[in-house]
């Protein structure tokens, strides 16, 4: 977004050079920046009117307010009296001005209550459903997981992975964990021989098996039963984005690492 000047190299956004063609980029992109501020003395409506005139857009202020769930009486008040959540909604509305081809949301959920967080998710989905791209940057991995089609992981300034969450799982082999509760662990447990099983751990009456391939899960259950145990309970956990993140960045993620997602 041209906030930071490069020391070397080139970058393009939507096919435009990030240094030479900033105007073209800024006309097509909407951004909710991290660490932004608004004008305390201006009303919410004035903010949107200003953004619309600067972007030469023709949006209707009331439509934008509706989309972010900010009511009209609040929009007449000055922003100095807004709560963090209201400011975030207004900033989100500013980002939506001109129906941008690319919507960049940098830590969009900070300061929002659960309803606000859900709203951000809905706006991101809604925008993607209109055929636009949403670039979603967050440290809150559960959100990334629930919103993003493709995920990129940055580690110390390097993009270490870009793929769908399933793709990342497959690539790393951090598949899923099958946990079985049995009446008694059979002496002759032969699970390690099954294709796709990477790790077996037994603790009292629970057997924990890590599998890299989806089909191996059923094989594991069948094998336990044919080894002579009765299965009382089965839980299957897919590895979370958090596990994937740790796997890609080393076990102790450093400060400043952020997964970034795209829809």
């Amino acid at each position: 977004m041209d906030y930071v000047r490069p020391t070397a190299g080139t970058a393009t956004v939507l096919g435009f050079d990030a240094q030479q063609e900033t105007r073209a980029i800024h006309e097509r992109v909407g951004i909710l920046p991290d660490g932004y501020g608004l004008y305390d003395r201006l009303s919410g409506r004035k903010h949107l009117e200003y953004a619309i005139s600067l972007k030469r857009a023709s949006d209707d202020v009331d439509d934008l307010l509706d989309r972010v769930g900010l009511d009209k009486t609040a929009a007449e008040r000055v922003v100095g009296g807004y709560s963090k959540g209201m400011m975030q909604r207004l900033a989100l509305a500013i980002a939506l001005v001109g129906d941008p081809e690319l919507l960049i949301l940098d830590e969009p959920s900070s300061g929002l209550d659960p309803n606000g967080v859900r709203l951000v998710r809905e706006i991101a989905r809604d925008h993607a459903d209109r055929g636009k791209t949403v670039f979603f940057s967050s440290h809150i991995l559960s959100q990334v997981e629930s919103v993003c089609d493709r995920v990129g992981i940055l580690n110390r300034g390097q993009l270490v992975a870009v793929d769908s969450i399933d793709g990342l799982r497959d690539a790393l082999g951090t598949g899923s964990t099958v946990t079985l509760t049995v009446d008694a662990v059979p002496d002759s447990l032969t699970l390690a021989e099954i294709n796709g099983v990477s790790e077996v751990a037994v603790d009292d009456r629970t057997i924990r098996v890590r599998v890299d391939e989806a089909t191996a899960k059923v094989d594991v259950i069948d094998q336990v039963r044919s080894d002579g145990a009765a299965v009382l309970d089965v839980t299957i956990e897919e590895s979370s984005l958090e596990d994937l993140f740790s796997a890609y960045t080393g076990d102790a993620p450093r400060q400043g690492d952020a997964p970034e997602g795209e829809r």
Binding site: R5, T22, G37, Y50, L54, K55, R56, V97
Partner: protein, 279 residues
């Protein structure tokens, strides 16, 4: 219809903000009251042969001290304040470029200062006319225009300062430094140089370069121009020099100096701001 240029949109918004914050009315009130008072003062001094020209001269003396402060206050936070609050990221996330933002801000704030000063001077013009029973309109209008130019020069300096600093407090420090340096300290500089060159303090007659040095600051250039406006071209200068004035003391030179004080800080500010990292 072609849309208005983006810097004009920004300038309009800056202007509207200043009206909303009553900054402009503050300028009008202060200038109106102070210049009216100083215009009236020569009536109170017994034996002073004050005409309306003297009154305007008195008002301009006051303006030379007040206008720089007001213009600096009106504009020193224009960029730095937004940078600190983060609203700069929102604006620069929208289409405006950094140059357009800077120019729009300069234009908007200059407009506020210019209109505030003009209205304030109109009030004191009416007061002067009432006190002295007449007003030399062209000299008065000329002085008003020069005062506006002085205000715009300091808006340029303030915007330049605002563009090179990233926090409000640094901008304030620089603005105060600029004020002290350009209005108060600069008055001493020619005397100090005179002392160094000739070994004595300047007397009744001074060398020509002394007047140039005096007129090199924005306020100095303003004073030189106002003096000539009110007392007629050349005569005051020649009296001071004890001979004909060299070409470099032409009013056009001082006009150029005043304009340069608006443009150069703005340009330097832009060059620095263009390369600045915002986060």
């Amino acid at each position: 219809m072609t849309p208005e240029p983006i810097w004009l949109t920004i300038a309009r918004k800056e202007f509207a903000d200043a009206l909303r914050s009553r900054m402009m009315w503050g300028i009008v009130a202060i200038i109106a009251v102070m210049t009216s008072l100083s215009a009236g003062i020569s009536l109170l001094v017994p034996g002073a042969d004050g005409g309306p020209e003297m009154a305007i001269g008195g008002a301009s003396q006051f303006a030379g001290i007040l206008v720089p402060i007001m213009a600096l206050i009106a504009a020193y936070l224009a960029i730095a304040g937004e940078r600190e609050s983060g609203s700069l990221k929102v604006i620069l996330g929208l289409p405006p470029s950094r140059g357009e933002l800077l120019f729009g801000k300069f234009l908007g704030r200059s407009g506020v200062v210019a209109i505030g000063l003009t209205l304030g001077f109109v009030v004191s013009g009416v007061a002067t006319a009432a006190l002295y029973g007449g007003l030399p309109v062209s000299a008065f209008a000329g002085t008003t225009a020069l005062t506006v130019l002085l205000g715009v020069a300091f808006v340029g300096i303030a915007i330049g300062i605002s563009a090179v600093t990233s926090t409000r407090s640094r901008a304030m420090t620089l603005a105060i430094t600029a004020y002290l340096g350009l209005t108060l300290l600069w008055d001493l500089a020619p005397n100090a140089v005179h002392l160094l060159v000739t070994g004595e303090m300047p007397g009744q007659e001074v060398p020509a370069w002394f007047l140039l040095l005096q007129g090199f600051s924005p306020t100095g250039a303003y004073n030189a121009l106002v003096q000539r406006q009110l007392l007629g071209a050349g005569t005051a200068v020649e009296a001071r020099l004890g001979g004909p004035a060299p070409a470099y003391l032409d009013p056009a030179v001082f006009l150029g100096i005043l304009v340069a004080w608006a443009v150069v800080p703005l340009a330097v500010g832009y060059l620095r701001f263009r390369r600045a990292d915002l986060s």
